[in-house]
Symmetry: D2
Subunit: 339 residues, 4 copies
């Protein structure tokens, strides 16, 4: 069993604590938070897990082989780097770091030491995204024509990041997970506004040009009183529609669409109106899958599905989005890096 | 009673025929289409209304004081101008014309002759939009913070216009109708793609910067197998959510939102989670309201709610959107004109 | 073409007028109502159809071969019998008559003269019910285990009939249409209440024991502010769920259920959790199908799908329901008649 | 703090364990199950709570003042009686016992010793039911006219009880909780069927005549592949509709209905079509409220909201339902008892 510590007992930490405890291959040793009272509250009165405020003590513990980092984004570089330097495998909340440059440092640090660096791109471990990935990779949807995501609700106005950096990592990591081999983000544009004068965008729209000519788009919004979580993956053969708030039928695959035949005589459009299939999907908490993958990557000495590089690809697009937003909304090329 | 002719017996013409016949102040005399057989089929076997293929004959008929134009967009200038020059009041389908310049000719022609020129911005006559307009104008929503519209379904790939010019006039005319006095569109940006290589955008996103710093955004799409018609009007006090496909509860007004107080000591965000009210709305076909307004404007010698100038304002934004799309998605100023 | 008259210009008459006019094989000659002004209003200012208040004149017209009766239920016997005696084919609104005995008179009168007597069981001509019928008859659902229908909304409290006689004919005629050969209603029970003291049940529940041991149940209600129209057809292989208020996906066929194997050692239950398929269905108004069937039955000299006998079977169950309601809710056998 | 043991580590036990641990006034000491391995698994690797297979040892522990019983219904009498005789306060899963007679023994045993006997009628502690109770008791809904509940899904075919005894306790306990003072169940009727020949009803309908002339009805069903959980509480002033599967808007209060004025000249019906209000409700797990009430009743020495007598009232209606089902569906009076 892999000994694990969780760093950060804030909003997301308790979920990590609960799911690590439910994973047979992991053994939770320590919950570390600057506010040790908060850490104790999260563990509760009935727990045998240790609470501590000392990161250095936690990283020095030889029984701990891995850490899960759930601290604010601005601290990811310091905390994760310290952990890697202490020889620990690292699972880190999104975004990987505050910048592409910082993220690259983490990826390199992990690579040099042969350690697992994994992003907690939770949505990639849901049954729906795994099915979407399969539908795309197996060619069932045909050529990807457009991807449209809406992720809006009343959200916390974050102190350090805007709504793009807060919410769009979900959309971009899902995109990263499901895009077929060879199709990559080429350029990103972003529009948005800050109607409450908070100093950062609270409503934003991000468009991603893909290398096959398709467009991916996400609407992220902290100000919507009505919660919407939908993603449409439009393909030339089938189109998949995911409603994350419909627990009984989250995914629908439509055999409907437009066919377009181009020939010398007549450009012609025709419509397919076929059945819709809502596939039966396994149930279960996605974070359980994250932990299983983290444990497996450590034990098998392999890269996890959402490794540091996937985190870097998301950061490259976020930086392009910020640059586009600052420049009036025109498309900005994505840093392809050398990874 | 005002004698009326309908020009064009295609997709929308039959709806005009039916609703004019149901309007007491109007008397339908003629249905004119180049294909007179089609016109006769639309009227059916039991009708006393005349079918004709001759536009000139129709416009020469002294019993006809007004015409409703439902021909393809590219012909609006010629047909509507001929009608105005023949001294007829004109109701025209959206968009007013193929360009701002052409639209301006129609507006001037009508103004010179003191004739009514009205746009069939049908949605503006729905009970929901009229209630939205009232909610905004009466200040019940507070300051407008963002407006988000989704208008997607499997649509006809139009031969002459792209999805922006086909569908966005609906969103832009609704916007024109509900925006509070003094808040105007300043600049427009558009992203999109043509994944099927039809030669025109089939998926598009349009962002409109408003003069108060807010953003309006619309997603228009011909390729979606699932039909969505929603509009969120986010205000500082209340937010209205319109689902046009929910006949039993199309409008919901939420007393929820984010409050943000800025003071020297502490920027602070707080949340209101209040009740939602779905107002009872009258039922009835919007096109009935269009015809009542057309008749009233003619009889009372006044401008209709959706007059030629509202059509011009929509054209100015469509032209800016096309320019932005061609230029890589950056914001393009809206032609303010002198109207 | 078959010359037709509509008798009754009240709530439903205008729909008959509209749909007969749209049916090529039928020619609408006359709309007859005791209130001829009302009849003229229904026809409108542009119609060539004659309005009259005289039933006898209408029935004496040799150009009229068929009549559609949309008068109050209590008058069906007199009007329809007069029409049959005048040699006209008859389409009659549900219920066929006020009693089984009266209904039998109409069936016999039509049979003696070789005339078509058809019930306007409109729902039986919807694409959904026709698909349900096929799913059941082809064995795709397996053995029918239960059928549950909910038909509730704010309804007119009828002057002459209770909610069972007003709404349950819809459920019972659908049941009649979809039940597999050999499965028949055996006994009926009804519970209900009259909470507003109107003198008749406004909320009622009807249970129908079927000959194969299954149960069919309907909730009919005039007092519900929320409209619900669902029917579940539970089968041993698949279960179909119909939501009549969901225009985009009215029918869902679930490959889910409970399997039960009985053997000497162990009674065992297992579950199937398979996909759901929402079949693509044709669109179109059901009443158009009613008229097409009426015309075809007359022209081909055959019984229509919903002939007088189907109306009698519904009446037999309504009478059993009323008897059960009066007797405290116990099951009452259905009059099998000799038809 | 009150020391507590949970008896039964099966389907529901883990929820009790989790919620007791989260309740400050309670201290979980022991989880007792005949299968101690199962108990250990429920507690997990990180717990300080004791697992045991010995009920007698558990009841002999002086640190334990209260027990929560989550064993099969058939064992409730023995386990709960032993606990009461050992001087423990008791929280028991529904139904209280297998018969009214057995339930009465438990109520008497608790009363004699001055111990708390509480039913885990979980739904009564949801924000929705508490709001419904208030709406009814404060007169906001007006006179109750009808209550309609649907509780259907793919359910476990229980080895010892039919679907009425399994699911209807939820509906009957909610009814017990929200009915206004003075309105009581008078008689119960039940219809149902066993289409899979399991030896017990798997689909059932229960009708409850109330003392004010209204009717309450529930559809309970183990065989439905689609899950529905709705309750309509129809009142003369307002009607409340609860959809338990809509987390964002579970409760809707309609200002719509039918008004009926009776006077010598004219019985008249009119309709109100007013707004709908979806009240903001607190969130949180209902079982947390159950535990808070259990703790408060013990500490304050008072009867809990859902005391033994509420459990008896539910049992009386279940017995009447079974008697009606056996007798062909006629209404059977409810045992009023002397409690």
């Amino acid at each position: 069993m892999v000994g694990v510590a969780v760093i950060g007992a804030g909003y997301w930490g308790p979920n990590l604590v609960r799911n690590i405890q439910a994973t047979p291959q992991l053994h939770l040793k320590t919950l570390c938070d600057l506010n040790v009272t908060r850490a104790r509250e999260v563990l509760g009165r009935y727990s045998t897990v240790r609470a501590t405020e000392s990161l250095s003590e936690t990283l020095a513990d030889p029984d701990i082989q891995a850490v899960a980092v759930a601290t604010p984004a601005a601290t990811h570089l310091d905390v994760a780097l310290a952990a890697l330097e202490a020889g620990k495998h690292v699972l880190v909340e999104k975004p990987l770091a505050s910048s592409y440059e910082d993220g690259l440092k983490l990826v390199n640090a992990a690579a040099e030491r042969g350690l697992v660096l994994m992003l907690d791109h939770t949505f990639c471990y849901t049954p729906v995204v795994q099915r979407l990935r399969r539908l795309v990779h197996d060619g069932e949807l045909g050529d990807i024509q457009y991807i449209d995501s809406v992720r809006i609700n009343l959200g916390l106005v974050q102190p350090d990041i805007d709504v793009l950096w807060d919410l769009a990592p979900h959309d971009l990591s899902i995109l990263d997970s499901i895009l077929p081999p060879g199709v990559t983000p080429v350029a990103v544009a972003a529009h948005g506004s800050d109607p409450m004068h908070t100093g950062k965008a609270c409503v934003a729209y991000i468009s991603v040009q893909l290398s096959n000519g398709a467009i991916a788009h996400a609407h992220v919004n902290w100000l919507s009183p009505t919660k919407i979580r939908t993603m449409i993956v439009g393909g030339s053969k089938h189109t998949a529609v995911w409603n994350d708030l419909d627990p009984t039928q989250p995914l629908a695959v439509y055999n409907r669409g437009v066919d377009w035949s181009e020939n010398p005589e007549a450009k012609r459009v025709s419509y397919r109106i076929g059945d819709m299939v809502a596939p039966a999907l396994p149930t279960g908490e996605a974070l359980r899958g994250v932990m299983a993958e983290f444990a497996a990557a450590i034990i098998e000495g392999r890269a996890p599905l959402t490794d540091g590089r996937s985190g870097l690809r998301v950061l490259a697009q976020l930086e392009a989005a910020s640059a586009s937003y600052a420049a009036g909304g025109t498309f900005v090329p994505v840093n392809g890096g050398t990874f």
